[in-house]
């Protein structure tokens, strides 16, 4: 939480005034018993009704002042906390948008979403609570102790002893219950996962007739949860009795000691009443703090999750040694750092030192027929010294030509595509574009080179037209229509209510997978980039549709003159000028369809498996 406080920025002043005003309010509250004891000891005992009434008015005045302080404090705290939340969100988004895909995959997309939404909300609620409530209680405790000292120093010593004892008692019950809460949460998660799997796999569950077994396993989990919940509640149920006991034992003690002081004339009985009241204030505050600490813990967990992202560079430098948080390859890390510097520079145009000194734009692209992209003995692994996903890959793509990449699952196709786009940098070897090593190119410039359609189609909320236009905001209606035609989308778009203006919901929930993929293709087709990259982008389409789209891609009508097509299907790449055959991360052959059929056994096998007859054994 503390780490994040620098994100308060311009709300810092509110974060100061909130607790400061709370302090004043707490001060007001501690005056009350003191004044009441004055009413009793000096008013009643001396029969002074004027004193009683004037002190009564003073009490009202204190209440009003307290109210003003409190309301202002609430306002400043709310302002500070919500501003803090906004700043955190903005910082998180900036950071996430600047992450490379490797980092995103490692942290996982759902987790990133939770952090920017739920976790930020919790963190800001936590801060608000901290400013408003958690600080208020120590103020009251200290104020009450001081006031009791003014009445009688010896009684104050009782209070000074009580505070740590009670705090420790609360701390211990929370401490012992805590491990249960961790386990309870993970049990609930596991129940939820179990149920999800059961629902998703309903056909398999029924087909194998394992409903009973599923039910038994489920009940085992709920029983286990019940057990843990009961164990935890037996501990936490101690909280109330403990505070009842401590509070009233202390009261009894103060009465017994106080009676002696009164007897020896040290204090008056009104002071005893004040002392008992201070005791109540102190113990109530400790009790409240204890219950707040629990709520605050939740906010702290969330803060930690946010800080992990915002201070993510820490993972890159020392690796932290935590399981599952593998460090990026050396090259990737540099790239990440470079990208971040670039971002910083972009955000701070007046910065004296431009951080992008070593990075420049792309050189002018070569003319058709000349070499555009070149892989020179490229190897890549996701983890430092980890297993190579790609090893010793060399090939080149000429401007205006088409390159096919074929291979089975796990052959390294997708990684290769990411290296082509500069999303990952090679662990060994070099990738050059127009003769320039891409590790020296800005990611922004590289992206302008490519128009990409990926296997996992993704659309944004907005009309069909807007989604296609994302590829090229300056495109005309005719361009959009052409792109829709090319991706065989015109027919289904026209059947949607509103046609091109049909609104696609968040995540493209209201259209089918095949349609999504076709619109993704349209978006790539409309983009004016020299290289078109299709990464298994037709996998959800039937063969007839795929064939029509393939025909367009390999025609001269596309806006991009260079094409890179990745697929598992021979039919998708057979028409390419050159095909790279990948297996287990290594190149098994490069050449045209015809050449490969003659020379490359792996390619032959794939070909036969997709077209040839299946022999019975």
């Amino acid at each position: 939480m503390l780490k994040l406080l620098k994100h308060l920025k311009k709300y810092r002043i509110f974060a100061f005034f909130g607790p400061f005003l709370k302090l004043l309010e707490a001060l007001m509250e501690t005056f009350v018993p003191f004044i009441m004891s004055d009413i009793i000891d000096n008013g009643i005992k001396n029969n002074d009704s004027r004193l009683i009434i004037s002190r009564g008015l003073l009490l009202v005045g204190i209440a009003v002042l307290g109210w003003i302080f409190a309301i202002s404090a609430q306002f400043f705290s709310a302002k500070a906390a919500m501003g803090f939340g906004l700043n955190l969100r903005t910082a998180l988004f900036d950071r996430i948008l600047g992450m490379d895909m490797e980092e995103i995959d490692r942290i996982s997309i759902p987790s990133l979403i939770t952090r920017t939404t739920v976790d930020v909300n919790r963190a800001q609620t936590g801060l608000n609570m901290f400013l408003r409530l958690i600080l208020r209680n120590p103020f009251i405790i200290i104020g009450a102790i001081v006031m009791s000292g003014i009445i009688n120093v010896r009684v104050m010593i009782i209070y000074i002893i009580i505070v740590p004892v009670v705090s420790l008692a609360f701390y211990l019950t929370i401490r012992f219950a805590k491990p249960f809460y961790g386990r309870i949460q993970s049990l609930i998660d596991s129940i939820s996962t179990f149920c999800r799997e059961n629902i998703i796999g309903i056909r398999s569950v029924r087909a194998f007739g394992i409903q009973k077994k599923e039910q038994e396993d489920f009940e085992k989990k709920t029983a286990e949860l019940l057990g843990d919940q009961m164990r935890a509640s037996r501990l936490t149920a101690l909280n109330n009795p403990i505070s009842i006991v401590v509070l009233n034992v202390s009261v009894a003690a103060v009465l017994l000691v106080g009676a002696r002081f009164v007897n020896s004339g040290l204090i008056l009985s009104g002071s005893i009443i004040a002392l008992v009241n201070y005791l109540f204030q102190i113990l109530l505050s400790i009790e409240r703090t204890a219950s707040l600490v629990e709520a605050f813990n939740k906010a702290n967990v969330s803060s930690k999750r946010i800080a992990d992202i915002l201070c993510g560079d820490a993972h890159g430098t020392d690796g932290h040694g935590t399981g599952g948080h593998g460090t990026g390859g050396a090259a990737t890390k540099d790239f990440e750092a470079a990208a971040k510097d670039l971002e910083a520079a972009a955000k701070d145009p007046d910065g004296v030192q431009r951080a992008d000194a070593g990075i420049s734009e792309l050189p002018p692209l070569p003319s058709p027929g000349e070499e555009l992209i070149r892989f020179d003995r490229v190897s890549f692994s996701y983890e430092k010294n980890g297993r190579s996903v790609l090893s010793d890959i060399s090939f080149s793509v000429r401007r205006g030509s088409s390159l096919g990449i074929i291979g089975g699952t796990g052959s390294g196709k997708s990684t290769l595509v990411k290296l082509i786009q500069g999303i990952y940098l090679p662990t060994e070897g070099t990738v050059t574009v127009a003769g320039k090593d891409i590790s020296g190119c800005s990611p922004e410039a590289l992206r302008k080179l490519f128009s990409v359609a990926m296997q996992k189609a993704f659309l944004f909320k907005g009309s069909v037209r807007e989604n296609i236009l994302l590829g090229n905001p300056a495109a005309t209606d005719e361009d959009v229509a052409r792109a829709a035609d090319a991706s065989v989308s015109t027919e289904f778009i026209s059947k949607k209510p509103g046609g091109m203006d049909h609104i696609i919901e968040y995540g493209g929930k209201n259209i089918s997978g095949g349609q999504k993929q076709r619109l993704t293709l349209a978006r790539a087709f409309i983009r004016q980039a020299p290289v078109l990259v299709l990464d298994d982008a037709t996998s959800a389409l039937d063969y007839v549709t795929e064939a029509a789209i393939r025909k367009y891609i390999l025609s001269g009508e596309t806006l991009s003159d260079t094409k890179i097509i990745v697929s598992q299907r021979i039919s998708a790449v057979a028409g390419c000028d050159s095909i790279v055959v990948l297996e287990d991360g290594a190149v098994k052959g490069i050449g045209s369809h015809r050449e490969l059929l003659e020379s490359c056994p792996v390619y032959n096998e794939i070909y036969l498996s997709q077209t040839g007859d299946l022999s019975e054994d």
Partner: protein
């Protein structure tokens, strides 16, 4: 409308009470304990006042009296503490037990509802019922019921004690209390609209965040980060503004009730002091000590009211949650005819006559479907996406029942056979793989729990899954689950195929069973499949036509109808839809 709602919550409460009937006496006991605990801790205040009255002035303190009252305090606190503890544990026990009971019931219900029930809802929706709604029921109904009761007892007890002490000053408290409650209610009501705005803004931000982060690779590829950044910032700023308002206004409740309490406190102090002063020498009048007891009661008097109003909101939420849970529990279950056959051992003749089916009556899907399949035949079903292939499988397995026409196995209408019995006659591999939480071994043995490890390995070998399983950290004992990234989609599919290789049902269904496996591995599995299919009636749905060339009959579907039927050669020999499909794959 309003009355109807009330009626509904009445029914919900009655059903909950029925559910809790075994624990009702525990609840009742808990309430009695709560009352005992509250009353004894309230009485402590009186004892404190009496003790103070024993301390008249210097030299004339009745030490024996103070000690007596101290003993009373200790006894009361012991009673209060013990009963409070027991009460809390009892209430939580009932609450958590109810949660477990409801969860088990809902889950068991999900095992018995028709597949269509689950298909029509998202998993998230069902899980939210199972986790959040049920949690809300226990928190909101049982725990807050306890709070409500404690609140009422505290209020009544305090009133009684105050009346006994001095009825006139009690009237001040009684007059002022509604004021506190009205102010709190006024603030809550006027804050409500800010919360509505805030909830909307929060939902808006969440969807923008969700979309931008899920689509981040696209954003990057098309350099759209700045556009989204602006969108997110705008949504964030809007949320900040409305959240600040909502949070601030709602946080004015506490200070405002505190100021009212402060004023009440001052008035009681003044009136009390004046009363004490006037009646100083009257027997039975208000004393300094009792005034202090009174002040202690008065300060705590409004607290339970605030708690109770919070409880009501929670109560409403819990009732709504309970309603949603009961909705699931009321869902209709799959039923079987009373004389349905439950021990079918099929040979494998399947006759499909004039079958029609649709998920949505306004959009007919499958119509006039006729197909005769004899024992041991291999039937391929091909066609473009959405043509009804998967629906046909749903009908064969009786996940859905036909609307018109009939499907029979060995001459018996499948509606006269129990679903379990039909399922046990089919072996099935679907495109969507499904793994259970458990080890690889358990997952393969799902259809044959008593299989030996040798049989399991043999099946895995046939499915070409043995190789990668052996490379897993613990081999066949590696724990897996469906959402685990440890296995690729293709590997999960291989495990599902191994499952099938282990069982030997008379009929097979392979619905795009090898869609995620690369074609070379597929060829190798094919040999296993061919062996498995020998002598078994098999239905094969495939995208890649090369895999089904050798089937005895190929059924070509389009828009829910059979457009062509025949062997590969006969279908290719004339210019039809199959030929078109085949050519597009092998140009």
């Amino acid at each position: 409308m309003k009355r109807k709602e009330k009626n509904l919550s009445g029914i919900t409460i009655r059903r909950l009470t029925k559910l809790l009937r075994r624990d009702l006496w525990v609840l009742a006991a808990a309430l009695v304990f709560a009352a005992i605990s509250i009353i004894s801790s309230l009485y402590i205040n009186v004892a404190v006042g009496r003790a103070i009255d024993c301390m008249v002035s210097e030299g004339s303190v009745d030490m024996g009296g103070v000690v007596n009252q101290a003993v009373v305090i200790l006894v009361c606190l012991a009673v209060a503490a013990v009963f409070n503890y027991v009460m809390t544990v009892m209430l939580s026990r009932v609450a958590y037990k109810t949660v477990a009971l409801l969860r088990n019931k809902v889950f068991s219900k999900l095992q018995r509802v028709p597949v269509s029930y689950v298909d029509r809802r998202t998993p998230g929706e069902m899980i939210s019922r199972l986790i959040n709604d049920i949690e809300q029921v226990s928190d909101g109904l049982i725990l807050s019921f306890g709070q409500l009761f404690s609140g009422i007892v505290t209020i009544t007890g305090t009133l009684v004690f105050m009346f006994i002490l001095d009825y006139r000053i009690t009237l001040i408290v009684l007059l002022a209390t509604p004021l506190t409650l009205l102010v709190a209610k006024f603030i809550a009501d006027s804050t409500y609209k800010y919360f509505v705005v805030q909830t909307g803004d929060n939902a808006c931000l969440t969807s923008v965040a969700e979309e931008s982060i899920s689509g981040i690779s696209v954003l990057k590829a098309f350099s759209l980060e700045d556009m989204k950044r602006r969108e997110l910032r705008a949504a964030g700023e809007k949320l900040r503004a409305s959240q600040t308002k909502a949070v601030f206004f709602s946080s004015t409740v506490m200070p405002t009730t505190r100021i009212i309490n402060g004023i009440i406190y001052a008035s009681i102090g003044v009136f009390g002091a004046l009363t004490v002063m006037k009646g100083q020498n009257l027997p039975g009048g208000l004393t300094i000590g009792l005034l202090s007891s009174f002040l202690a009661y008065a300060t705590k008097f409004s607290t339970p009211f605030n708690e109770i109003s919070g409880v009501f909101a929670e109560f409403q939420g819990a009732l709504a949650g309970a309603g949603r849970v009961f909705e699931v529990l009321d869902a209709e279950e799959e039923t079987e005819k009373p004389d349905a056959i439950s021990d079918l051992k099929a040979k494998g003749d399947v006759d499909i006559r004039g079958v029609a089916f649709s998920y949505d009556p306004s959009r007919p899907l499958i119509e006039d479907f006729d197909l005769d399949v004899r024992e041991g035949m291999r039937v391929a079903i091909v066609g473009p996406t959405g043509c009804g292939k998967t629906t046909f499988i749903n009908l064969l397995m009786r996940f859905y029942d036909v609307e018109r026409g009939s499907i029979s196995v060995d001459g018996r209408d499948i509606r006269d056979i129990t679903r379990d019995s039909i399922h046990s006659n089919y072996g099935m591999v679907l495109q969507e793989t499904w793994l259970r939480q458990g080890t690889v071994k358990d997952n393969i043995a799902i259809g044959k729990p008593d299989a030996t490890i040798d049989e399991i390995v043999e099946a895995a070998k046939l499915a070409r899954a043995h190789g990668f399983i052996e490379k897993l950290e613990k081999g066949y004992d590696t724990p897996v689950s469906d959402d685990l990234a440890k296995l690729s989609y293709g590997q999960k599919q291989l495990i599902c195929i191994a499952r099938l290789m282990l069982t030997s049902p008379p009929m097979l269904i392979l619905d795009e069973a090898t869609s995620s496996i690369d074609t070379r591995t597929e060829i190798k599995i094919q040999q296993g499949f061919i062996k498995l299919m020998r002598g078994r009636t098999s239905f094969i749905v495939a995208h890649r036509l090369s895999t089904i060339k050798n089937c005895d009959v190929i059924v070509v579907m389009k828009d829910g109808k059979i457009v062509e039927k025949g062997t590969h050669e006969s279908l290719l020999s004339h210019d039809g839809f199959y030929r078109e499909l085949y050519m597009s794959q092998n140009n």
